[in-house]
Symmetry: C2
Subunit: 320 residues, 2 copies
């Protein structure tokens, strides 16, 4: 059963009518995840001019923070290109955001009085797939702060995951962080072994201190503990290895689901992806590639495509 | 290693100096958990006059809601006793609250301008132990919305759990609810089997609809799904049975920790306790008793004890 929860790419809006006609558009691609927001700036000729980065941009876990991160990453990309940050109003932005498959988030984002010339919004999965395959078939697995995946075979789409922390985060950074915290608290209560990993999670804090921090923590803050799990595993910590093994088994299952559906190529993106890949069975590793830049390139091509469609429509209307 | 995170029972404060001298005190015991707040009203002769009940009273998951629940449960107990709700100002209240082992919650509660003559605060574990054993040794395991446990052997205390959702809720109502939601989302993605349980969790909703509700849900709302797990298990659902089995293994481990520390009697309280007990190994079932009323009786005896101490102190001071 193939089901689509792919966002209709008609979710776009412009800031002001005075900025409608751009002779020399600057394109900005945004990859907005639960821990980081990355921006890539290109001119109309397709030259990469600069990159920017800011914090968490999943609107589900902090709406205003996500908007601020998008604007900040855009300003940083302009500055990195030697351009004035005030050129925000000249940017044609394509943004793929985690959490944007939720209708409530789409509705909320549609009301944003953003500072750009144009803003075209879609999901992080959409831009990752576009960056990896263009219009061709294939599957992408995002393994960053959260987990989500999208496969496409002969025009049909199969979406897996993406429902957030803590209900749907197995294998992801936030999922590994949560499991590490659970383990540390149990170890201090004498219900699990203490280890390199549990000591690292406490970092000198008491159970109460750790709990008070984590009960208020965002998924991004849980994901900050994931690198500890990989570091401890590299030092032979059996508990860390067990957590990573659970994550690997899960990603194996997801990959098999795509292969069974007829998907022939799988791309992984996101901060956890390159760290987990070596723990997958070697036969599977050969079928999965890791592409760090895919979402950024996808966001840029999404921005251009939407802009060209709009331009074409305007031409049609002016002829009538 | 025995460590105490037992609350010093000195955390008390009175509302007004005009209400200081009560000739005929009415005692109210409050058992405040993550889903329910229960109140028991007694006169000075120890007669039970009435009971009341209101919603969630764990201040960690909703501070104002917890205060409102305490007052509402108290008013209901007065009404059930045929007394005026305005008699709140005559009540000597002993309250055991989930979440009150956290210092931040103790500090916050200490500033409450409550409507009672006296309010003595302690943890839910403290009143459950007091209700089950008085001053004698023994262990209590609270398995309600959350999980926590406290054992006492020869003056030393061993506290386990109580650090909240989702980091420390294995076996509890919120933990079972979370696992059921995780399973349902995976089943709909073709990564787990669909079953009676996963259908019951969705209750006709889509994955997105379920996710949007649960991402905002309190631990109490997760715990509302736990009865479904037990109902499906009773109908032979293997996934539900597996979740309950995990919870039972955890409680076995906790009980063994107490038995190893020299605890000779274990009492379980909380909404999940009577439902999980039949799934524990029969040898362990014989060592564990379930006492629904223990926390309420403990809260009442806590209120009386604190009141008598205070009265005794005042007498001493007036003699000097």
């Amino acid at each position: 059963m193939l089901a689509s929860r792919h966002l209709n790419p008609g979710l776009s809006h412009q800031a002001t009518s005075t900025a409608r006609h751009l002779d020399q558009p600057l394109f900005l691609g945004i990859d907005g995840g639960g821990s980081n927001c990355r921006a890539w700036l290109q001119n109309a000729a397709g030259e990469l001019l600069g990159q920017g980065q800011a914090g968490a941009a999943n609107p589900v876990n902090g709406y205003q923070q996500a908007l601020d991160a998008i604007v900040l990453a855009a300003e940083q990309a302009l500055i990195a290109a030697g351009l004035a940050p005030t050129l925000l109003s000249q940017l044609v932005v394509g943004a793929g955001l985690a959490g944007l498959h939720l209708p409530s988030m789409q509705q909320k984002l549609a009301t944003w009085q953003h500072p750009f010339a144009r803003l075209y919004l879609t999901t992080d999965l959409d831009i990752a797939a576009l960056g990896a395959y263009g219009e061709a078939d294939g599957a992408v697995i995002i393994l960053g702060t959260g987990f989500s995946a999208l496969g496409s075979v002969a025009g049909e789409q199969l979406a897996i995951g993406g429902f957030g922390f803590p209900i749907n985060c197995t294998g992801s950074g936030s999922g590994l962080g949560l499991e590490a915290v659970k383990l540390a608290l149990l170890a201090a209560d004498g219900l699990a072994e203490t280890s390199l990993l549990t000591d690292a999670v406490f970092h000198g804090r008491t159970q109460q201190q750790l709990a008070e921090v984590m009960l208020k923590a965002t998924p991004g803050q849980y994901a900050q503990l994931a690198p500890l799990v990989f570091q401890c595993a590299e030092q032979g910590d059996t508990q860390a290895l067990a957590l990573i093994s659970q994550a690997a088994v899960f990603i194996e299952k997801v990959s098999q689901r795509f292969l069974d559906a007829g998907v022939t190529q799988i791309t992984m993106v996101g901060g956890i992806a390159p760290r987990l890949l070596p723990y997958l069975p070697s036969a599977l590793q050969q079928k999965i590639q890791y592409q760090q830049a895919a979402p950024g390139l996808g966001a840029l091509s999404f921005a251009k495509k939407q802009w060209q469609q709009e331009w074409h429509q305007e031409q049609q209307e002016s002829i009538r």
